[in-house]
Amino acid sequence: MAKDSISARGDLRLTRITKSYGDFTAVDDLTLTIPKGSFFALLGPSGCGKTTTLRMVAGLEEPTGGSIHLGDTDITTTRPYQRPINTVFQNYALFPHLTIFENIAFGLRRRGIKDVKEQVEKVLNLVELPHLAERKPMQLSGGQQQRIALARAIVNRPALLLLDEPLGALDLKLRRQMQIELKWIQREVGLTFVHVTHDQEEAMTMADTIAVMNEGKIEQMGSPADLYDDPETAFVANFLGQSNLIKGKIDANDGDNLVVDLYGQKISMSKKRSHAVDNSLYAGIRPEKFRISRLGTPVRGNTLSGGRIEDVSYIGVSTQYVVAMPWGQELMVFEQNDDGVAPFNKGDEVNISWEPNFTFGLRGDEDVDAGTEVNPEELEE
């Protein structure tokens, strides 16, 4: 069993994985396939079950139900050291009593690999820290420790590399740099990376595929662009970027398009992008998709009239407006500062327009605030 599982390769398949602690269900009937060679992100707020999922894949927690397969091998109950899976821990967990060289060599030595020195030197060159081999972890900066933790894992060339909030402890600038480097290293070594994070920007920068998790379940899975442009739930719409969600009713069903009534004003949208189950729906439009125009200016696409500028924030690349609509809702609008047009002022009467194809539709019974009250800074799992 052990010998078999250690050489397993292929896609990672989680089938109906459940993990409960007493009454609390951390991971709830989760089914997921992560293709070999991909950079996959599990994204969600604190307590959504993403870290628990990762620990079950690593073998550090045992699922209450369901199974985990790597290729054709069932690894659900194998010990962590019997799995061809390595983890980059959140706080790196470098062995403080060993040198950097011995930290990286640890996994190779346990498996009785012959050319330890050569392989460690190669991976130290990959992370560009060959001069630190004889230091102790405590003598390294946070960014250096992060790279050593990565090197210690990838030197084993695991079938699967797990990253648990690997950049959480770094400052913003270093984080951006490491995001790009991680992505580059993943391409270079060609391993499957599974990355757990609460930072939507980090997930979108690095991952090919993102699974957004909430309360132990996957809300939606897809490429960063799919998730952003066509979110299926209010949670996803709000957790990934900002959204304007306007309550409406489906009026007519005209071939590929829907006509939607938003407080008496008719708009159209693509039928494919509606996830409504009945006539009621929320029309969703991202703030940067809106255009603001003065009354009487001709516009294309969907238009909502009767808006009044409530607030103007100039932030360099764009100007952010808050526009109050006749039905009492305030909409966010981001306008690029690229057309030399004089900005609007507080109190201006305006129309709002957008391309019909940018609209996405959510079920009418959604909680429009889901996923908005998450403060990434306070998250610590």
Binding site: A58, N91, A93, L94, H97, F106
Partner: protein
């Protein structure tokens, strides 16, 4: 303000005020000097009188000699007593360190029924007055018809040393990040290898500290030893008995030597630690 300082006719601060300011700044230093003086005068006294050309009683200074240091076993029985104390100390240290470390791991790492009560019970030998512990151990040995002597003393010392070992090692285990062991398992080390290569090396300083503590506790224990050792003479017993007719200067030699040995160990440990963190 700066204008005033440049002025040649700056009013000088009165001496009294200057002194009180100096005193305020150095109060902690003065207090420290007094504190250390208080602590080390007895040690210094012992050290100085180890050079006393004393003859029978080592109470009055009679002149400087090195003969006590050249011949530490000169006084009758002193080295035999020392040998017994070292033997008992080493045995008690070995047993209490092994058993105590195992208990510390059990309490510190695993959840089991009766964990919190055993955690509490471990403190009892520390809290029990030595005189009570010594007397009850003696009566226990007598009930089992074991005569006081060498092994009963070792067993008695293990009893009270274990508590200190458990407390010391447990503190070290508590400060150990469990993720380090998880990382080792993640890197293909099985349970045994993880313990040997990660857990044990990281807990080792705590175990070493506990062993030193156990040895010094055992070495200078008098009360419990007095109950359980019978006719066996240990170093503290020797000093106590000879106090009645004058402690030989050789006792001072051995006492001072022990002090400097302990000091050397502490300094060496500090140096190693500093070298490691550099």
């Amino acid at each position: 303000m700066s204008q005033k300082i440049k002025d040649a006719s700056i009013p000088t601060i009165p001496v009294k005020a200057r002194f009180s300011r100096w005193f305020g700044r150095n109060l902690l230093r003065i207090y420290m000097i007094f504190g250390f003086t208080y602590l080390f005068i007895p040690v210094a006294y012992t050290f100085v009188f180890s050079f006393n050309d004393s003859g029978k009683s080592n109470l009055i200074w009679k002149g400087f000699t090195l003969s006590n240091w050249q011949n530490p076993c000169g006084a009758p029985e002193v080295c035999k007593a020392l040998g017994n104390s070292i033997k008992i100390g080493l045995l008690a240290t070995i047993f209490s360190t092994i058993l105590g470390t195992m208990i510390a791991f059990a309490i510190g790492r695993y959840k089991f029924k009766g964990r919190s009560s055993s955690n509490l019970l471990i403190f009892l030998p520390m809290a029990t007055p030595e005189i009570v512990l010594g007397a009850s151990l003696l009566s226990l040995f007598l009930v089992f018809k074991i005569n006081p002597g060498f092994w009963p003393t070792v067993i008695a010392h293990v009893v009270f040393c274990i508590s200190f070992v458990v407390v010391t090692v447990k503190a070290r285990i508590a400060s150990l990040d469990p993720r380090l062991e998880q990382a080792a398992m993640d890197l293909y080390a099985n349970e045994l290898e993880t313990f040997r290569r990660v857990t044990l090396p990281l807990v080792a300083p705590g175990i070493a500290g506990a062993a030193l503590l156990a040895f010094s506790l055992s070495f200078d224990d008098f009360i419990i030893t007095n109950f359980n050792s019978g006719t066996l003479i240990t170093f503290p017993k020797f000093v106590y008995v000879s106090a009645a007719r004058g402690i030989p200067a050789q006792a001072n030699v051995i006492g001072s030597a022990m002090f400097f040995l302990a000091l050397a160990i502490v300094i060496a440990a500090q140096l190693v630690k500093r070298k490691r963190t550099r």
